[in-house]
Structure formats: structure tokens, C-alpha cells
Symmetry: C2
Subunit: 101 residues, 2 copies
């Protein structure tokens, strides 16, 4: 819960999530988009994974990262609600949480 907000407080991690919105990507593919070392990227992946914002599976020697929309949605909606900012989920996305657009 609180970890979600910590996770998205870093711009690199928000950008990782933005990339993952398009499609699942391997650690290496994601890393190509950022001017930081692989180990640093790996640490960012850990933070995202521990917050539940991404899930992984192995595919050969690669680790594929996939965004978990519902965790993000729950956190944002929960906070938005607690604070009286009436954000609503787009019903178009219901049951299609990884929709491209």
C-alpha cells in the first residue's frame, strides 16, 4: 500500500511502468531505455516488484517484467477517495486491466 507510493515517487520507476504499459519487457530491454547501470535498474525492479506493481516470469535466460495495473489502480483510487478527490476508474478498462488504450 504505502510501498506503492514510495515506488512511484521515483521518476525512473514511473518511466519503467510507462514502458511496461505497452507490453511486457525483459530486464535488459527495459534497461536499454535508461542511462543507468544494469544493477541499478535491477534495484528499481525490486522496488516495483515488492510494491506489487510488476510481476515477473522467466523465459529462457531472460526475466520478463509485466505491469500489474490493479495494484496501481487500487492505490491511486484508494488515496484519491480518502482525500476527497473523486477519481473514478474507467469502466472501459474493467476486466481488461492491461489494455493498451
Amino acid at each position: 500500500m504505502s510501498n506503492v507510493f514510495k515506488a512511484i515517487s521515483d521518476n525512473t520507476r514511473r518511466e519503467i511502468l510507462r514502458l511496461l504499459r505497452e507490453e511486457p519487457l525483459s530486464a535488459g530491454e527495459i534497461s536499454k531505455h535508461f542511462p543507468v547501470s544494469k544493477p541499478t535498474m535491477s534495484a528499481h525492479f525490486s522496488v516495483l516488484r515488492e510494491a506489487g506493481l510488476v510481476a515477473t516470469h522467466k523465459q529462457g535466460k531472460m526475466v520478463i517484467y509485466q505491469i500489474n495495473m490493479s495494484v496501481l489502480e487500487d492505490a491511486l483510487l484508494g488515496f484519491s477517495g480518502a482525500i476527497g478527490l473523486g477519481l473514478r476508474s474507467n469502466t472501459q478498462n474493467k476486466g481488461n486491466k492491461n489494455a493498451k488504450s
Copy 2:
């Protein structure tokens, strides 16, 4: 923009915003709700103010803090959009950004 996410990454600051959702409050009144020192609270206020999430005005010897919904809404909606999570603002709140409910 990025400062908004840093600001709401801390639980105490999210709680401050939650309190402010009800009504504008003085620094002292807000501080009563938290088990930390006044100077620490003052530092939290600074972070929120610099992120544009709260506005202040003086009233006698007190400093009144008021939440700025639109900054929060813009950040959350912007991020939600960039990431393909289709959150929408509650149209009921349009032009009434500090509505209680």
C-alpha cells in the same frame, strides 16, 4: 510534477492531506494529530507547499494550510493517463475542487 509524487510518498504527508480534505487547518491544529515534533511537521508542510499541494495564509499568529486539489488531480490524472490506467476525474467535482464529499 515530480515533487508531487515525492510529497505523497510519505505517509504522514498523505495523512496531512487527508485531514485538510475536511477543512483548512492551522499548523498547530494539524500537528496535534501526529506523534512528531512541531519542527518535523513544519518540514512536512514545506514539502507539501513546495509541491504545490497546499497553500497558506496567515491569520493572526497562525498559519492556515489549505489543500490544493487541482495540483493533486493533475499529477494523478497525468500519471494515470501516461501509464494507460484510465482514471477519470469525477465530473461532480468540476468547479468544486474542495468538496467534502
